[in-house]
């Protein structure tokens, strides 16, 4: 633990810290462009210069200099000030003065630091360099004249995303950042380079010229596009969500966000259900709330208990609790959230949880992935797995091949292989200190859960301070629904067998409606998607951006999201619809306000009231008779960009799907 003196104050810094980190620990602000905590150190922008003794009598780049015992660091000397002014002047030599038309304006590192550390004027009278625009796909807009060559984007794509596609061509003044042959950056985390770019060279294409950061209302929310539960901020202007940006949460998403979570928000204004629809003579026609409610009540006349509820993938816990309360009050227990028909055992939630946690899986040294395309099912988890591999972990995958971005051994897609563990897998897992198994949705669908639990003992997955048994869900609502008991032992099959007179579909767009031909299908949701097409009655609800709610990610992490904007038109927050329906049906659900609903939910499931990891207790014993069976033919996600109704409504996501996955020609607007 070296002791250093920063501006006359002595502090102790962790071994291996850089001078920059030492200065930060001492509370000093060090300007920087190329340095980023989560990327390797490049040391090429020279903005972080400080004066260090002992050392050469010139300013040193603090980001690349290790802090050592007895260093005297000055961040406030005339030499430092002059050096920073010089660097800033050089950076600005070729930087255009187009801040008024630049999308980064107001949140630009260069702008801020030029004000704080610059000279305030330029002595450069020659022509500035100009660089042609580079195409980087439908998400990233480039204005490369603004680039200051910090290479953060290059390092991100190489180190974090693992898809080496951005590079710095040519040299010196002619250096240009580009992708190979200006191909689109095609991976699930590509848009994070927009956040990383300290200037306006890489900006968001869909958000181009839409708003200024100071006009936006920021609301803390949770991403629902997958089960990772990435922490996001929704930036809204008026009644529209303009963009979603990641928030820093080292336990969940670090500071990244998948492209889907970031860019599906334009879908929030498209294909919205903003009024009540009623199917008359086979056609959906506009109607009034009362008409719709009356029809539901009429269908249940005399047999209130013949009601069932199916929850979709994007729901918050409160909506599901309200639906369950309503169904139970009617005397029915038909609620199911695993809408695609999975029937795994949920009597012990530890068995269907991601027990290692995302931060923990980084420390695993042997990982077996069974039936999960992690890149598409949880792009941010793949970043963690990549880190584990970089630290020396071995990865084995069972399932059809996909490109994991790190070395991994595919053992075929036949699950039976695990009944007699192959030697190469067994040796690695048994000698590992922290072995982990990740069971994906494709394996759950094949009923592999009981057999997988046997691996806990076989591989020693549970050790002191380590639980390596993980289930990776793909639905943001899944863990909350399981905690609320929104399930039936036989899954969707039980509901179909009961043939309820009324089927409440709460944003369930992936379920099969065919078995419910005789039921009155009431769709409570926000997008005109598959569920709405099959519905007899549509009651317009609110999306995740339009209601407060509690979400539980696949680790069992309880997180709260806040309401950013109001739902459009006649749409209401889902719980109010269910509350009103309770009155029509003449039952009591026991809450009249959102606070009461939440309090009642927390009383029923106390873990939902506490932010952070829920405790599900120890893993159950594996059933010794369980066997792995069947082969994984494919993964549930066929198209990364179109997995939920919001994304399917989003023009940006559709363009990504067409262009990045299906190789359609680049459609560029006439300019």
């Amino acid at each position: 633990m070296p002791k250093v003196t920063v501006d006359g104050v002595e502090i102790e810094v962790p071994a291996g810290a850089t001078v920059l980190q030492a200065c930060e620990l001492a509370g000093k602000e060090i300007p920087r462009f190329c340095y980023h905590e989560r990327l390797s150190i490049a040391g090429n922008c020279r903005m972080c210069l400080v004066e260090v003794k002992p050392g050469p009598p010139k300013p040193q780049a603090s980001c690349a200099l290790p802090a050592t015992e007895g260093q005297e660091i000055r961040t406030d000397s005339p030499m430092v000030k002059k050096a920073r002014e010089g660097v800033m002047e050089f950076l600005l030599i070729n930087h255009p003065l187009d801040c008024p038309i630049c999308d980064q304006g107001g949140e630009c590192d260069l702008q801020d630091q030029a004000v704080a550390y610059g000279r305030g004027g330029s002595r450069f009278h020659e022509n500035k360099r100009a660089v042609t625009e580079k195409y980087m796909g439908p998400l990233i807009k480039t204005i490369m004249t603004r680039c200051i060559h910090c290479t953060r984007c290059v390092r991100f794509s190489e180190e974090i995303a693992g898809v080496d596609e951005i590079g710095a061509l040519y040299r010196g003044e002619d250096m240009q950042i580009t992708t190979y042959l200006e191909r689109a950056a095609a991976h699930e985390l590509s848009a994070n380079v927009i956040d990383l770019c300290p200037v306006g060279a890489l900006t968001s294409r869909p958000y181009a010229f839409e708003a200024r950061p100071w006009e936006l209302k920021k609301t803390l929310s949770i991403d629902v596009s997958d089960a990772v539960g990435a922490n996001i901020t929704l930036h809204s202007k008026g009644r529209e969500v303009m963009r979603a940006l990641p928030r820093v949460n080292d336990d969940v998403n670090e500071e990244w966000l998948s492209d889907k979570g970031r860019f599906q928000v334009d879908g929030l204004t498209k294909r919205r259900l903003d009024r009540v629809w009623l199917r008359r003579e086979g056609k959906l026609q506009p109607a009034e709330w009362n008409e719709a409610f009356a029809k539901i009540a009429a269908a249940l006349e005399g047999d209130k208990a013949s009601i069932a509820a199916v929850a979709g993938d994007l729901l918050d816990a409160e909506t599901m609790f309200a639906a369950k309360a309503l169904v139970n009050a009617c005397g029915s227990n038909l609620t199911e959230a695993r809408q695609t028909g999975m029937t795994y055992d949920v009597s012990n939630l530890a068995a269907v949880n991601f027990n290692s946690t995302f931060a923990g899986i980084e420390t695993a040294d042997a990982i077996l992935i069974i039936g999960s395309n992690v890149r598409w099912e949880a792009a941010l988890l793949n970043v963690r797995l990549r880190k584990a591999v970089k630290a020396g972990a071995k990865v084995f995958i069972i399932g059809p091949e996909w490109d994991p971005t790190y070395p991994a051994t595919f053992l075929g897609s036949d699950l039976k292989i695990l009944n007699r563990v192959p030697k190469q897998l067994g040796d690695v897992m048994k000698s590992a200190q922290r072995p982990a198994v990740i069971l994906g949705a494709a394996a759950l669908a094949k009923g592999a859960l009981p057999a997988a639990l046997k691996l806990v003992d076989k591989f020693g997955l549970v050790k002191d301070g380590w639980n390596g048994f993980n289930v990776l869900h793909i639905s943001a609502a899944r863990m909350a629904s399981l905690m609320l008991g929104f399930t039936l032992p036989g899954g969707m099959g039980d509901i179909a067998a009961a043939s309820p007179k009324v089927l409440l579909s709460l944003g369930a767009d992936e379920m099969d409606y065919a078995p419910f031909a005789k039921s009155l299908k009431v769709y409570i949701g926000h997008h005109g998607d598959r569920g709405a097409h099959n519905a007899d009655i549509i009651l317009p609800g609110a999306s995740y951006a339009e209601k407060d709610g509690t979400y539980v990610n696949t680790e069992g992490r309880v997180q709260f999201a806040e309401k950013a904007v109001f739902a459009p038109g006649d749409a209401r927050e889902d719980w109010t619809i269910l509350r009103a329906l309770a009155d029509v049906l003449g039952v009591t659900v026991g809450f009249d306000s959102f606070e009461e609903l939440q309090a009642k939910m927390i009383a029923a499931v106390p873990a939902l009231g506490e932010e952070g990891l829920a405790d599900y207790g120890p893993l159950p014993k594996g059933d010794s008779s369980a066997r792995f069976d069947g082969a994984i033919a494919g993964y549930p996600i066929k198209d990364f960009y179109l997995t939920n109704p919001i994304a399917r409504a989003s023009a940006v996501m559709q363009q990504c799907s067409d262009e990045l996955l299906h190789g359609a020609d680049v459609k560029e607007a006439a300019e």
Partner: protein, 222 residues
Amino acid sequence: MADRTPAPDTPELRARWGGFAWTPENKKIADWHIAKYPEGRQRSAVMPLLDLAQRQVGAETGTQGWLPLPVIEYVAKYLDMPVIRVLEVASFYFMYNLKPVGKFHVQVCGTTPCMLRGSDALFETCKKRGMVKGGISPDGLWTLTEVECMGNCATAPMVQINDDNYEDLTPERLDAVLDALAAGQQPKTGTQEPGRHTCEPLGGPTTLTAMVDANHDYRGEW
């Protein structure tokens, strides 16, 4: 500064170079280069391999050689590295030609010492033969490039033609060199000054004169 953008990625380019592969001799050399580096560090051989590929292209086309995109991709694949990383290297170093060149790549130094010693006249000489900067002359023989200092300031002005330097040039001497090359002969490389061997001072040494014949210890005289 020379235009360093790669030759455009056209179907013709793909058709001509898509099937590029090492000749058996070059494969041996490539593997020899790779073997210099530890297992898993084969990427370190990217520069010699690019040079080798450029020479193979040169041999196939009867020119100094250049690096079409499919060839760059071939090298990337051969070294199991992302193609953008190879293109970064190829576009950084001027020894790699990213566009077709003529049989002789005439690189005239235009930096200060050479300019003071008359490199402008050398450019004139070249242009009179139909050379154009960055392009191939109509007869397919010449490509002219203006380059920065090549480290022969003591014998300025100089040009580099393919792998050889020609120094102490005047327009007449350069003409003689180019004539010889065009005629298929190999002119004398290095300095063109009669009586000069390399870059020793003209007219005999003016310093360290006592060292000319035998080793002399100057330390006592300081």
